[in-house]
Assembly symmetry: none
Homo-oligomer: 368 residues x 2
DNA sequence: CAGCGTTTTGAATCCCAGG
DNA sequence: GCCTGGGATTCAAAACGCT
């Protein structure tokens, strides 16, 4: 693994390495506003009572590790708010955070995020295709976990590769529920005895989707509960820089070895489908300027109920209102907003077609 | 709609009717420990248009106010904790609550539930098969809502018709993620102008699954945010009694009319698959008493590796252990537990059959 | 090796009636 | 309340093992 540093105003950033020790202290040792994305898989605070056996009498290997033990919700909240505060300081103004959890802890995390001024963008449900069943038949199969995606503050800009996710989802807008298998098979790391190296290793596919959605190549991704380093492995594959923090030396060692074997995807496959947002912006005035439509021509609304006349400056005039194609459409419809490109239509060859056709024509011309 | 009352120690219960006014006051007017299930679809818009009071009880004038974020969460929490407390008082000791919400409010609700001593049993994700797309392409399609299912307190018994839900799911235990379409089409209530009568009408299919899972016929279901009465309509169909609380007269009126048209399913179709736990217990001693097996006869284990001899009191003796059919089986297998009924076999007509066959025979006789 | 049946395992707040 | 003990309870995928 090549460790590089990025110098910032406040100090150097230990890129592509794993810090040891308490995650709050480690985060506080790093310069403020230096990280693009934080992915956090904190302890869930499972409050398991006795043993649980499967119907065949085998014992379920539960998460009873010391790091998941808290005395009370209050203790868990204190811990949560402390690390979330340190995380918030680290984020660049346009940075974002993802936190994963279950019903045991996610409500505490979500409330803390909101209280501390983070702005929730989505909650995303990981629907497990192969969850552990409920063995006693007393509840529903616990078949999902919840991730919260939040920007650093209300109104902050954030990275979202909409079109890339849409492409990942076969051309349909990506939903807030993702179906992915749990991590097992060859991907699941084992110790010398052949037992799982970490009780809660996350699948790389999950991190892949998160990082493709919410970062760009070259971004810095921090994981304060690094574990066996899934975040780092996927970040490296995707050409993102990572910083891991992990308390347990055993996990750090496994993660180091794991990530050193990872090879970065080639640059071409990292290029992500470009969204319409990245396409050149075309003012309606250009349509008029180019003579694709002429001042004085009449447009009709999608529903045929409204008409407006084009003016030379690319604005529209309707019965008692005037303004941009979007503004006039919105006012006529009594709607808060309106996409004028698809709302307004004109006649061509006896057909009624949206003016967006003309924008596409312009963009095609701009490409060549 | 036939309104009946159930008298309790503390007063009468206005069954199958809709109470007006503030839900907290209305709940406090009802007798404690009188309700089996509460289904709540609270407002989640943080600009609550007068529903909210600040901690000092001053009314929040929302719409045009610039809302300080902290103030708004605090006010929402105050409101949430107040109605949850009133709800908890109403629940019978073995009662339970379901609350539905989105990421705007569900973390507040979940934390409040935990803080007030409710015990979360599952979070259930309603995955919408036909969600509203995200028009701006800035986030993931908000394709789900979250329900929290909680018992009144830790360790409390609760109703869960496991087998019925498993049957609903084609023989596989029901998961925590439910795929259901949003409410539209003929089910969606419209006003005179043809607009939707209520902004967040829930699909009856959702309530159907909740009530089948968590109540039995004759149970009392309370909905403190009744709206257009989906909970009441489904409760009536399913032969449960309901109590609705709704402050808006217009919604009450629509709900009354809606529910009056609903017909209860016939009693037979309300019956639901029962688990084996519901069957009467039969001590193995009865098998011996009735002469279906005799003292001295030998039983063999399921895997054929172990043998035991029956004693007159219905206990077994094996090589170096004695006790109940379950205890001896468990010890011989070195297992934490063992179902002796399916473990031990005897010979009949040249076949090796489990002694459970004899229990079934006794149960059949008990029926007639 | 292919094919097929058996065993293993995964973030789990997992029983309850009767004495 | 507490303690005892009967006896009910699992899905999907990978790994393993046998023919």
């Amino acid at each position: 693994m090549t460790t590089k540093t990025k110098s910032t105003g406040a100090g150097a950033l230990p890129l592509n390495s794993i810090l040891s020790g308490d995650c709050i202290e480690a985060m506080n040792s790093l310069p403020a506003a230096s990280v693009d994305l934080i992915f956090a898989d904190p302890p869930y605070n499972l409050q398991l009572k006795g043993d649980l056996h499967r119907p065949n009498n085998s014992l379920v290997d539960a998460v009873d590790d010391h790091w998941d033990q808290f005395d009370s919700f209050k203790a868990y909240d204190t811990f949560t708010r402390a690390w979330l505060k340190a995380a918030q300081r680290l984020l660049k103004p346009h940075g974002a955070i993802w936190v994963i959890g279950s019903y045991h802890n996610i409500f505490r995390v979500g409330s803390a995020l909101q209280d501390q001024g983070y702005w929730i963008l989505n909650d995303v449900v990981w629907r497990k295709s192969n969850p552990m069943p409920n063995f006693r038949g007393k509840r529903f199969t616990n078949a999902h976990e919840t991730m919260i995606w939040a920007s650093k503050s209300e109104g902050a800009k954030y990275t979202f590769n909409y079109e890339a996710l849409k492409a990942l989802n076969e051309g349909i807008q990506m939903r807030s529920d993702w179906v992915l298998p749990i991590c097992n098979g060859g991907e699941r790391l084992k110790d010398e005895k052949g037992d799982k190296a970490h009780p809660t290793q996350k699948p790389e596919a999950l991190l892949h989707r998160v990082l493709v959605a919410a970062t760009n190549p070259g971004d810095v991704v921090l994981d304060p509960f690094f574990g066996t380093g899934t975040t780092g492995a996927v970040a490296k594959k995707l050409g993102r820089d990572f910083i891991g923090i992990e308390r347990e030396a055993a996990y750090r060692e496994i993660a180091e070895k794991r990530i050193s074997k990872v090879r970065r995807f080639d640059r071409a496959s990292l290029e992500v489908t470009q969204g319409k947002r990245a396409e050149p912006r075309v003012p309606f005035g250009q349509v008029v300027e180019r003579g694709l439509l002429s001042p004085g021509e009449e447009l009709t609304s999608l529903n045929g109920r409204h008409r407006a006349r084009i003016r030379a400056d690319g604005t529209l005039v309707a019965l008692d209102t005037k303004g941009s194609i979007h503004q006039v459409g919105a006012r006529l419809e009594g709607a808060p907003s309106c996409n004028g490109w698809t709302y307004w239509h004109f006649r061509r060859d006896g057909q009624t077609v949206p003016i967006d056709l003309l924008r596409q024509q312009i963009r095609a011309e701009m490409q060549s």
